[in-house]
C-alpha cells in the first residue's frame, strides 16, 4: 500500500514539470508541422489556406536546397575530421610532461569560452579581412596578393572558424581519455618491441575509440545547426556558397517572411538530422558498448 501511495504521489508531484517539458517541446514541433502545411506569408496577411505539401515541394525543389544539404554535410564532415585528427594530435602533445602544462592547457581550452558570434567576427575582421587582416599582412610581407577568404572560399573559411572553436572540446575529451590509459600497457607494448608509432596505432588509438565516438556524436548534434558563424561572416553567400540548412530556413522564414516554407524547411532539417543520427549510431554506436 505504502509504495503504491508514494508512487502515485510521486507521479502527481513530477507531473507539472513533465507536462511543462513536454509542452515546451511538443507545442513548437506541432506548430511547425501545422504551419508547414499552410500558405502563411507575413507580407501577405489575411487568409492562411491549407495547401498540403506545396511548401515542401517548393522548399525541396529550390536550387538553394541541394547546395544547402551539401554545405551542411561538408561543414559537419570537415569540422569533424579537423577536430578529431587535430584533437588527437594536440592531446598527444599535451599528454607529454612539459614545463607550464597547466597554463598551456587553459590556453588551449580558451577558444571554447568565446561566444560563436564574437569569435567569428574576430576571425572575419582581424584575420581574414583582405585589407586589414593578419593573413593579408602576412601575404603582403611575403610579397603575395591578399586572399579574400570569405569571398573566395567562404565554406572552407567557416569550416576553419568552427573547427577552431570546437578543437578545444575534442582535445579535452581525448586528453582525458588518453590519460586514463594504463601506463603498464604502454610499457608492455614497448617491451614487446612496438615502436612509438606502433604503440600509438595499436594501443592508444583503440583506447581512444570510445572517446572519439563521443566527440563525433556530440559535435554532430551541434554542428548540424551552425548558424551564428554564418550570419556574422558571409550571410550565407556569396550567393548560396556558404548557406547550410539552418541558414536556409532562416532565410526563408525571416528574410522572405515565408513562415510556411520556413516551417517545411525546419521539418526537413529534423528529418535530415535523424537520418544522420541513425547512420552515425550504425557506424560507430557499437564503440559505446562496454
Amino acid at each position: 500500500m505504502a509504495t503504491q501511495h508514494s508512487r502515485a504521489a510521486a507521479r502527481v508531484m513530477i507531473a507539472p514539470s513533465v507536462i511543462l517539458l513536454l509542452a515546451w517541446m511538443l507545442v513548437p514541433l506541432l506548430m511547425t508541422l501545422y504551419f508547414s502545411f499552410l500558405r502563411y506569408n507575413l507580407l501577405m496577411p489575411g487568409a492562411n489556406p491549407f495547401v498540403g505539401f506545396e511548401n515542401y515541394t517548393y522548399f525541396l525543389s529550390d536550387p538553394a536546397f541541394q547546395t544547402a544539404i551539401v554545405n551542411t554535410l561538408l561543414l559537419v564532415g570537415g569540422v569533424l575530421v579537423i577536430t578529431v585528427v587535430g584533437g588527437i594530435a594536440v592531446a598527444t602533445l599535451l599528454d607529454q610532461p612539459m614545463w607550464g602544462t597547466g597554463l598551456v592547457r587553459i590556453m588551449v581550452i580558451s577558444p571554447f569560452f568565446v561566444m560563436p558570434t564574437v569569435s567569428a567576427l574576430v576571425w572575419k575582421n582581424m584575420f581574414m579581412n583582405p585589407v586589414n587582416g593578419l593573413f593579408a599582412w602576412i601575404a603582403d610581407v611575403l610579397g603575395m596578393a591578399a586572399f579574400d577568404f570569405l569571398t573566395q572560399a567562404p565554406l572552407a573559411s567557416i569550416i576553419g572558424i568552427v573547427s577552431w572553436q570546437w578543437l578545444p572540446f575534442a582535445t579535452l575529451i581525448l586528453l582525458t581519455a588518453m590519460q586514463s590509459l594504463d601506463s603498464e600497457q604502454l610499457e608492455a607494448a614497448e617491451m614487446d618491441g612496438a615502436s612509438a608509432w606502433a604503440r600509438f596505432w595499436h594501443i592508444k588509438l583503440p583506447h581512444l575509440a570510445r572517446a572519439i565516438t563521443v566527440v563525433v556524436l556530440i559535435q554532430t548534434i551541434f554542428l548540424l545547426s551552425i548558424f551564428a558563424e554564418i550570419l556574422v561572416t558571409t550571410n550565407g553567400g556569396p550567393g548560396t556558397a556558404s548557406t547550410n540548412l539552418t541558414y536556409l530556413v532562416y532565410a526563408e522564414s525571416l528574410l522572405r517572411f515565408d513562415v510556411g516554407t520556413g516551417s517545411a524547411g525546419g521539418v526537413v532539417a529534423i528529418i535530415l538530422a535523424n537520418i544522420v543520427a541513425i547512420f552515425l549510431m550504425r557506424m560507430i554506436g557499437k564503440n559505446l558498448d562496454a
Binding site: 600497457q185 614497448e190 614487446d192 618491441g193
Partner: protein, 333 residues
C-alpha cells in the same frame, strides 16, 4: 641463455637515491626472487633490468652483451606485469601474437608458437575471447603466454600474483614453478610475499631501501640470516627477538628464536609466561605468550592440537642449537 650481470648499478630520481650502487650475478636458468617490504626498490631494480627505467650509473650485461643502453625491446627479456597489461581491444590470440607481429615473425610460425603456448597454459579454448571476458587467473596465463612466445633470454615477473585471491595464488605459484622447470629459462620474480619467495626461488635476494641485505637459497636464508632484518623477514610467523640478560648470557646483544624452535610445556622449562591468543589451525597451534616486563608476546608453534587456552601458564624451552645470535649492529655472530 640468460645470464644477467649487474655491475654497480645505481638509480636516482632527482636527488633521491633509490638504489645505491649494487652488484648482482644471475646465472642462466636460475629462478631469482627479489623480496623486500614495499618501497625497498625491488620493482625499480626489475624495471632497470627490463630497460623501462634508465640507470643513473653502472652497467647491465645480458649474456655477455652490454645492455645498459639498449632499448627494452632489444634486451630479449619478457615481462609479466602486476596488472597483466593485456591489450583490452584484442582477442587473446592477438594479444599473444602482438610481440611476434612487432618482430615480423612469419604467420605460420606465429600460429605454431601460439598453439604451443595455449597448450602449455591451458588457453586453447579461450583464444578468441577478449581479456575482459576472462577470470584473473586466465588473464595471468595470457600475460605469461605473451611472454613465452617471444622465447626470451629471461622472464621478468613484477608481483604477478598480487591481484589474485589466496586459493588461485597458490595454484598459479605452482604453475609458474612448473613452467620454470619445463622451460629452464632464467626468471626474475619480484614479490613482497616471503612465502612466494621461499616456495619458488632458487635464489632469494632480500632488499631493503635499495640495499641487498642477503643473497642465498631459501634454506640458507632461513638457517643463517645475516642480520636482524633478514631474520625477521624470512620465516612465518616471524622470528622472536629477545635482548637483555637472556641474550648477554649467550654472548649476544640480541638473540632470535623461531616459533618452531621453541618447546611448549605446561609444567617446566626455561621461560615462564602466560598464554595470550591461541590460534588453533588443526595441523599446528600458534600461541602468543606474554612475559612480565616484555611488551611484545613471543610466538610459539606447537605441532598438532595442544589443549592450552587463554590465561594458562606455560613454559617455553628454546632449542639452544638453533638460537640465532646478533651483535649490537644487528649482524649475525
Amino acid at each position: 641463455m640468460g645470464r644477467i650481470t649487474l655491475d654497480k648499478v645505481q638509480k636516482s630520481f632527482g636527488d633521491v637515491e633509490v638504489i645505491p650502487p649494487l652488484d648482482l650475478e644471475i646465472e642462466d636458468g636460475e629462478f631469482v626472487v627479489f623480496v623486500g617490504p614495499s618501497g625497498c626498490g625491488k620493482s625499480t631494480l626489475l624495471r632497470l633490468i627490463a630497460g623501462l627505467e634508465d640507470v643513473t650509473g653502472g652497467d647491465i650485461t645480458i649474456d655477455g652483451t652490454p645492455a645498459t643502453d639498449l632499448p627494452p625491446a632489444k634486451r630479449r627479456l619478457a615481462m609479466v606485469f602486476q596488472s597483466y597489461a593485456l591489450y583490452p581491444h584484442m582477442s587473446v590470440r592477438k594479444n599473444i601474437a602482438f610481440p611476434m607481429k612487432m618482430a615480423g615473425i612469419p604467420q605460420d610460425e606465429q600460429a605454431r608458437r601460439i598453439d604451443n603456448a595455449a597448450r602449455v597454459l591451458n588457453l586453447t579454448d579461450y583464444l578468441d575471447r577478449r581479456p575482459g571476458q576472462l577470470s584473473g587467473g586466465q588473464r595471468q596465463r595470457v600475460a605469461i603466454g605473451r611472454a613465452i612466445v617471444r622465447e626470451p633470454a629471461a622472464f621478468l615477473f613484477d608481483e604477478p600474483l598480487s591481484n589474485l585471491d589466496a586459493a588461485l595464488r597458490v595454484g598459479m605459484r605452482l604453475e609458474i614453478s612448473e613452467l620454470h622447470k619445463r622451460l629452464a629459462t632464467t626468471m626474475i620474480y619480484v614479490t613482497h610475499d616471503q612465502v612466494e619467495a621461499m616456495t619458488m626461488a632458487d635464489k632469494i635476494v632480500v632488499l631493503r631501501a635499495g640495499h641487498i641485505e642477503q643473497v642465498g637459497s631459501p634454506l640458507e636464508l632461513y638457517r643463517t640470516p645475516r642480520n636482524l632484518f633478514v631474520a625477521g623477514f624470512i620465516g612465518s610467523p616471524r622470528m622472536n627477538f629477545i635482548d637483555g640478560e637472556d641474550a648477554s648470557s649467550r654472548g649476544a646483544h640480541t638473540i632470535g628464536v623461531r616459533p618452531e624452535h621453541l618447546a611448549v610445556s605446561d609444567s617446566d622449562g626455561v621461560w615462564r609466561g602466560t598464554v595470550g591468543v591461541a590460534e588453533h589451525l588443526g595441523s599446528d597451534t600458534f600461541f602468543h605468550v606474554h612475559f612480565d616486563g616484555r611488551d611484545e608476546p613471543i610466538t610459539v608453534r606447537a605441532t598438532g592440537e595442544v589443549a592450552l587456552k587463554h590465561g594458562d601458564t606455560v613454559w617455553l624451552t628454546p632449542d639452544e642449537d638453533r638460537i640465532h645470535r646478533f651483535d649490537q649492529q644487528g649482524l649475525r655472530i
